[in-house]
Symmetry: C2
Subunit: 137 residues, 2 copies
């Protein structure tokens, strides 16, 4: 019996292209421990299997949602999707997502008040142009 066909394994360049990122990014994620060390061909070339790819996609998804790599590192211990530890990772992930929603709400509120301030300030500047006032605080 043969092993699973080799084309289940992808090299770094192909994987990068597939996901729209660079090889540097993938190596970087490995460097900081977000991706475990992948298997290698005889010469040292990295190969990625389906699990690896899922994990990488997962990382990219979280990143898309605004989770920083550092935050993911805090998860990284429980992060082993490979190990069927998904039941353990999700509660922690929920926690992080919840915190993140809070942060986003906070940012939105800040921006809203910032917007108001800018508009006010704009109004004062405008008045100066009209000669209605003469000082800017």
């Amino acid at each position: 019996m043969k092993r699973a066909p080799a084309d289940q394994f992808v090299q770094i360049g192909e994987l990068a292209k597939k996901l729209g990122i660079t090889t540097r990014t993938i190596r970087y994620y490995e460097e900081i421990g977000l991706m475990g060390p992948p298997e290698r061909l005889g010469g040292g070339t990295r190969t990625y299997n389906r699990e690896d790819i899922l994990r990488l996609k997962f990382i990219l998804k979280l990143k898309e949602l605004g989770i920083t790599l550092k935050e993911m590192q805090e998860l990284a211990e429980n992060f082993d999707v490979n190990q069927q530890a998904f039941g353990k990772i999700t509660p922690k992930l929920l926690e992080i997502l919840d915190a993140h929603i809070g942060k986003v709400d906070q940012k939105i509120a800040n921006l809203a008040s910032l917007r108001k301030e800018i508009v006010d300030y704009r109004g004062r500047i405008f008045d100066i142009l009209q000669g209605k006032a003469s000082e800017v605080s």
Copy 2:
């Protein structure tokens, strides 16, 4: 007749304390051309007059409003509050403030949609915990 009293001039440390910033910040603003070269005492100590202080406050105000130092640098030519060029600077400033309001609106919109995405994703994760589903996209 005497000149204006010397206590109209402030040294860098005092000014920094007064405005709640560090001396490094003030020197940095000078370094990147946001603040013009101030007058110096015999030994080289920087002294700031009222105009300088107004200008610095103005910079801090804009920064508070989210204008980056780089954006201010683009204004910096017209930036000479000292030179009574305030009539020239304001239209350009209005332009920048308007653009900034637009950017802030854009950010708010982005964050709102991000928020929705996170909440959705959170929902899917939650479902997994409940055993209602088994895959995460």
